[in-house]
């Protein structure tokens, strides 16, 4: 009776995983080996979709997959690095006794609670080329205006900066928590040897917040790989398609107009593989360090 009850209570979870995790995963793997377009019968094409995306088919490959993947890599590296640097720097400031710290902390974390779509639309206003506040400030400082939406390089920077603006508070909160967990007596002991704040940060703070930062790096990497909302709303992938991310391209391929679900599934599986590699490397490093 006890054994049966155990299975009974496990069943919902098992069904959930089978239906909503395993089945879509396996079905999408099957789709990735077909030329399926919604409304048309799928035909098995083996690994042809993967070969085209990875430019192994001798036919010129999928030019757009390569370019969007390139921008995604730029975003992943750029956004992760900048959010870590800014978030840690702000956390370090807030780890000191300053007036109005609590209020400022609440204000600083606000972007984190906005939907990325809303942040993207906010970016449309902020980076408006004719009347946006960023350009007005730059103009006021005598630096001239930047074509944030219509210049390929500046548009990429606008997407990157918007993502950094939204996610810096996330890094800030976690790193600040890690900093506050460091016992004061460690600093007090260290201050007997040095009064240099940089040395204290480098030899006390940084090693002790490293595990938390590792987690943050992993989460930021995975989060940035998935980015879609901000380029969709801020630049609509333009000018041309320079701010289309890889995920944007998957969305366009599979869910807009052409419904090429076979190709979109193959594109998605490649992201899954990359995400698995990144997280495996991370956990391997963590195990190597702490075991």
């Amino acid at each position: 009776m006890k054994v049966k009850a155990k299975y009974f209570f496990l069943m919902p979870g098992v069904i959930w995983v089978l239906l909503f995790t395993l089945f879509p995963l396996i079905y999408s793997l099957y789709l990735s080996t077909t030329n399926f377009r919604l409304g048309r019968d799928p035909q098995f094409v083996g690994l042809a979709n993967y070969a085209r995306i990875l430019n192994l088919d001798g036919g010129g490959g999928d030019e757009k997959a390569a370019s969007t993947a390139g921008f995604s890599v730029i975003l992943v590296i750029g956004s992760t690095t900048l959010t870590i640097v800014f978030g840690t720097a702000v956390a370090w400031v807030f780890n000191h006794d300053l007036p109005l710290l609590r209020q400022m902390r609440a204000v600083l974390t606000m972007p984190l609670f906005a939907a990325p779509v809303a942040v993207g639309f906010l970016g449309v206003i902020i980076f408006n080329e004719a009347n946006g506040p960023v350009n007005n400030i730059l103009q006021g400082l005598g630096l001239g205006r930047v074509n944030w939406i219509t210049d390929p390089l500046a548009a990429r920077a606008a997407v990157l900066l918007t993502d950094v603006w939204q996610w810096t508070p996330f890094v800030f909160i976690i790193v600040l928590a890690a900093m506050q967990a460091i016992p004061d007596d460690l600093y007090e002991s260290a201050r007997l040897d040095t009064k240099n704040n940089i040395s204290l940060f480098r030899y006390i703070t940084l090693p002790l917040i490293a595990p938390a930062m590792g987690t943050v790096v992993l989460l930021r990497l995975v989060e940035t790989i998935k980015i879609l909302d901000i380029p969709v709303t801020l630049t609509r992938g333009g000018p041309g398609s320079v701010t289309q991310t890889y995920n944007f391209y998957i969305y366009e391929t599979g869910l807009r107009g052409s419904f090429q679900l076979g190709t979109a599934s193959a594109l998605s599986w490649l992201v899954v593989i990359v995400a698995i590699i990144i997280s495996s490397l991370y956990f391997w490093r963590v195990r190597a360090r702490f075991e």
Partner: protein, 565 residues
């Protein structure tokens, strides 16, 4: 009778007439106040706020509704629900706003409930096909763009409506009132699938006051060495005009102003600008009696009608794209990232000397909440080109005396179609016909905010139509603006020797929005040269055609453009 008696008689007559007039006005007001539509008052049908913006809008809408003389639809509508899918821009936005506006009236006349489902522009190609392909069949009626007909008809998603024509159970409208260029977009192989609502064609707009200012005319002549073309009739003349005015403070606001105002962001419908302009660079009319006849070389723009090989990278197209870049350079750089509304607002705000766009600009220019140019609007049929590519000759032709003129119906011409799977076809048709009723459709096209453009004879002045200046004066429009705008619209839709063929084959959205639109943006922002961008487009198009089946696509393309192999 002496002079005094005559004067007294005249006074008496004037007094009697005045009293009669006052009585008539009073009676009319009482009648209007007492009149109801299926038991509902104007306030109940068009409440302020909620539906109508103000009393004038409420009154004009109610009068239009009464004039429509709608029949009782409760026989087939009572207790039912009609689901209406529509391009979504909110309850006071373009296209969808119309459906919200007339919802109460429809419900009163039919006893049915109208459920409105808004579909964002960028999801049009996803939501409706996904609904049908997955067997949901959510919508009884939906308003999409005419370019989607290829997908809808080849998949059997919409049904013909000819069987309802002339049936007195439904609101009256006549497809013969619709301009032939627009009626053709609602038909496929001899059957009608849609009812008229919005007629999209791009025409040319300019600042009438500035181009007619003797000071500016003299300044132009002094700088350019020849008189100001007023208004420009060719693209080349337009470029000269916008180049001259760009950067000058011609509106006297203290800042430099623009020559042209365009919307060229990816996803911002900039590809319509390209198609409108490129038509006269790349399309040649047929020789002989019918200049609109489609042959292998004439009146084709998108694909070779014998092979389905893309024509988009032909020399005429490349020159047109180069020209579009030159023209865009006579306006703000920011317009490369503008959506439709931003380009309109720049022109309506009095900051650009010219634009070419849909009829919305004409009606929006009369809305003083949005426009600063009421009374100063100039309009003409879309421009011709002094230079074009003749594919049959394999060379460019240059002729400034007899330029190449190609009209267009670019745009969605957003109109309702009926789902093949609706279980309430009568109710669905009632709603479609109600929107197409001349009284209601005329009113809609005068509001501006509804995004409904003229499509029919009753909206045009004679000799092309039956409208009169009083019709437009009644809704508060400037008669000078209307004289220019309405006549330009008529000339644009009726008078061009030939027209750009409308692309409406399966995958149109993929060909245009997902490839051409992106490549155009890449060219406009100097990521690719025009030739490279259009070569890339041609490659993309060949891939799409092969994926969709070249033979099937070719057959549908030939049917869509009227080509007989």
């Amino acid at each position: 009778m002496n002079k005094q008696t005559i004067t007294s008689s005249k006074r008496l007559l004037a007094l009697v007439l005045m009293i009669a007039l006052l009585l008539a006005v009073g009676a009319a007001q009482v009648t209007a106040q007492e009149q109801t539509f299926f038991g509902k008052t104007a306030q109940e049908l068009f409440p302020i706020p909620g539906v109508a913006a103000d009393e004038q809008e409420q009154r004009l809408a109610f009068e239009a509704l009464l004039r429509a003389n709608l029949p009782d639809g409760r026989e087939f509508g009572e207790g039912k629900t009609l689901t209406f899918g529509v391009l979504g821009q909110g309850s006071r936005g373009g296209i969808s706003g119309t459906i919200y506006f007339w919802r109460n009236a429809f419900e009163a006349a039919t006893g049915a409930r109208l459920e409105i489902v808004e579909i964002p522009y960028n999801e049009l190609g996803t939501t409706i096909p996904a609904d049908f392909l997955t067997g949901q069949y959510t919508y009884d009626v939906f308003i999409g763009a005419a370019w989607q007909y290829g997908d809808w008809i080849s998949n059997g998603w919409i049904q013909p409506i000819d069987r309802f024509f002339g049936d007195p159970r439904f609101p009256a409208w006549d497809i013969n009132d619709v301009a032939p260029a627009f009626a053709a977009l609602m038909q496929w192989e001899g059957q009608t699938y849609g009812t008229t609502n919005d007629g999209d064609a791009q025409l040319f707009y300019y600042r009438y006051d500035v181009l007619n200012d003797p000071e500016w005319q003299a300044a132009f002549e002094a700088e350019m060495g020849y008189p100001l073309p007023n208004p420009p009739t060719t693209w080349q003349q337009l470029l000269a005009v916008t180049s001259f005015f760009n950067g000058k403070d011609w509106n006297r606001d203290g800042d430099p102003d623009d020559g042209i105002s365009l919307h060229l962001a990816p996803g911002g419908q900039g590809h319509f600008h390209y198609a409108t302009l490129a038509a006269s660079f790349a399309v040649t009319p047929a020789e002989g009696d019918d200049p609109r006849a489609v042959t292998k070389f004439d009146n084709v723009f998108w694909f070779d009608p014998e092979t389905m090989e893309p024509l988009i990278n032909q020399p005429g197209h490349v020159r047109a794209l180069e020209f579009l870049k030159e023209l865009a350079a006579t306006g703000q750089r920011a317009q490369l990232g503008w959506q439709l509304g931003e380009a309109w607002d720049n022109f309506l705000g009095g900051n650009a000397i010219a634009t070419f766009s849909w009829g919305d600009v004409g009606s929006l220019s009369q809305d003083v909440n949005r426009s600063r140019i009421k009374g100063n609007l100039g309009a003409s049929a879309i421009l011709c080109s002094e230079e074009w590519y003749d594919r049959e000759l394999g060379q460019f032709v240059t002729d400034s005396e007899n330029p190449n003129c190609v009209g267009n119906t670019t745009g969605g011409s957003w109109h309702p179609t009926m789902s093949a799977f609706t279980d309430t076809p009568e109710l669905a048709y009632y709603m479609m016909a109600m929107l197409a009723n001349p009284s209601i459709n005329f009113y809609n096209a005068t509001t501006g905010w509804q995004g409904i453009d003229p499509s029919s004879a009753y909206q045009l002045y004679p000799p092309r139509g039956t409208a009169s200046p009083e019709d437009y004066a009644a809704v508060g429009f400037d008669l000078g603006d209307m004289e220019r705008y309405i006549n330009a619209y008529g000339a644009n839709v009726f008078d061009k020797p030939t027209y750009l063929t409308y692309l409406r084959i399966p995958g149109t959205l993929e060909y245009i929005q997902e490839t051409l639109d992106i490549r155009l943006s890449e060219a406009m922002t100097d990521q690719l040269t025009p030739q490279e961008a259009l070569d890339a487009t041609a490659r993309d198009w060949n891939r799409i055609t092969d994926e969709l089946g070249r033979e099937e696509q070719l057959a549908i393309y030939q049917a869509a453009i009227g080509f007989n192999p």
